[in-house]
Amino acid sequence: MNWKEKLSEIEISFGHHEKRDWRSAIKLVENLISEYPNNIEINVRAIYIIHNILVEEEYPNDEHDLMADLLKRCFSKSYQRFSENPEYLFFIGKILYIAEWYFGLSDDLKPLEKKLAFRMQKKAYEMEFNNQLYEWAFVFSKDEKKKAFALSNQILNGESNWLEWLKTKGYPGTYVIESLEYCYEYYKKLV
């Protein structure tokens, strides 16, 4: 089984608030990061996996601090390494909004422009102006509903390849697709 399949095996059980032993999953993620430190997809998926377990899944209380510490370390190391990579900035910018304390941030009450999450999304878009996906993430965060809706419609129902690209990105890709669908369905009623 290759690393993509191994990560998919973990990700497939997400979303059910299931009580299970996540230690082997965490160990696998740790091993993959140390084996492939320069692989962006592994680093992004590792961060999404640990974050999702911490925020959404069931685990014994005594495992919380270890996972929280690991997530902070993963983010800190990978951000140093990939802070100029738009794909990393796009995916990690998106997830930083959710439970920023797990990333060692305290941006929640700051104006949008000052939040690291938004600055990452903005930078990804500035680096690739023609990327509809990065533009969508940027305007969605800015709460530009009309534009966000139009872009989500183009990405989900148009002829670009972004949807297919997201489908190859494991849980982070699925997470973004669900967010695009939310944007499309919810903003359709508003704009």
């Binding site: 920023e100 009450l109 967010s179």
Partner: protein
């Protein structure tokens, strides 16, 4: 709370919050009601996990963190 990313994260279909959101009249109203119901159930500071609150006769579970006295939600769900 106005952040679209956070609202989107808190209310996916799998969190079973749809009927409650309809009853409360929107996402932000639901969050307000949940936080009101959680009053006195949250720690003074730090992470909280699976606190159950009653909102409109529904048991809702919440997780998050209290930072500088302000509760921040990470997830809300009805199992």
């Amino acid at each position: 709370m106005k952040d679209a990313n956070k609202l989107n994260h808190l209310f996916p279909a799998k969190h079973n919050l749809g009927p409650l959101v309809n009853k409360m009249g929107g996402l932000e109203n639901t969050i307000r009601a949940v936080l009101n119901a959680a009053n006195n159930k949250l720690p003074v500071s730090g992470v909280f996990n699976n606190i159950s609150v009653n909102v409109a006769e529904q048991t809702v579970f919440i997780r998050g963190n209290v930072i500088n006295g302000v509760p921040h939600l990470g997830t809300i769900f009805i199992p």
